[in-house]
Amino acid sequence: MTGAVPSYLSPTGQEIVFLLLGAVTVGSALLVVTTRQLVHAALWLVLCFGALAGCYLVLTAEFVAWVQVLIYVGAVVALLLFGIMLTRAPIGRSADLDSGNRVVAAIVALATAAVLVTVVIDGFRTAYADLTPGRGAASEVGSSLFRNWVLPFEALSVLLLAALIGAIVLSRTDIRGR
């Protein structure tokens, strides 16, 4: 997994592309939370997820990248847009999007970021992963999934089932609780 560490002073083309995509991801993520229009937030989220998929592609995680496009850019954003259309219509510029808990939210976000960055830095330190194309292909993911990660895979189906039943119960007004 780790190889000789090349110098960071002469970045390769892939590293530059990765950094640019990372900048796009962070910028569009900031726009998601600062824009005044809810629909625009959902559309900025498309750009954010798309740039993240690009990051995965540069890291040769091909399969994950296309899953990101299919599930997040496709399905999750469609779900979000439907959620907006169901709850907030007619829609436009809304002034009440700001929460009174701005400071608390910022502290929580910074703390989460600090935890994640610490874990990643502590876990990998100066390890250098050599990116070999083909390691992130569907067959590699499949063999590791069905050899080592079968239980999480099956647990996921139960999670999807629970969420589906929950969505049905919430959206049907004629199914009453006791």
């Binding site: 399969f63 299919l70 709850t87 194309p133 569907a138 067959s139 069905f146 050899r147 996921l156 039943i165």
Partner: protein, 123 residues
């Protein structure tokens, strides 16, 4: 343009060409067309009928289930791809087949529930 990065660079170039073609077509239109807007011309075109109300309307909550069913099937289909590449390979076989059908079975339970609760019926 070979190898992993080369082939994806080709994809990026193709996207860029597509964007340029669309932008050039719209730009050429803008350059060539006369622009004399009147209030009537600026209203939304609704097949010749005068538009009524606003463009945004609250949709019915039942559509949420259909979108969520789409999410479930997308996740479902995505896991079929890695499974399809390995299940016939040596060292996998029957167990992997059963694992996948267990996964599909759980999701089928959800569809069965939706069907029994008449969510899939339109009226």
């Amino acid at each position: 343009m070979g190898g992993y990065f080369g082939s994806y660079a080709l994809v990026v170039v193709l996207f860029a060409i597509g964007a340029v073609v669309v932008a050039a077509a719209l730009f050429a239109n803008r350059m060539l067309r006369p622009s004399r807007p009147t209030p009537e011309k600026l209203t939304s075109y609704e097949c010749g009928v005068d538009p009524v109300g606003e463009g945004w309307a609250q949709s019915q909550v039942r559509y949420y289930v259909f979108t969520y069913l789409y999410v479930v099937f997308a996740v479902d289909a995505v896991f079929l791809f890695p499974w399809a590449t390995v299940y016939a390979a040596p060292g996998f076989g029957m167990t992997t087949l059963v694992e996948m059908f267990l996964f599909l079975g759980f999701i089928a339970l959800g569809i069965l529930y939706a069907w029994r609760k008449r969510v899939l019926a339109w009226t």
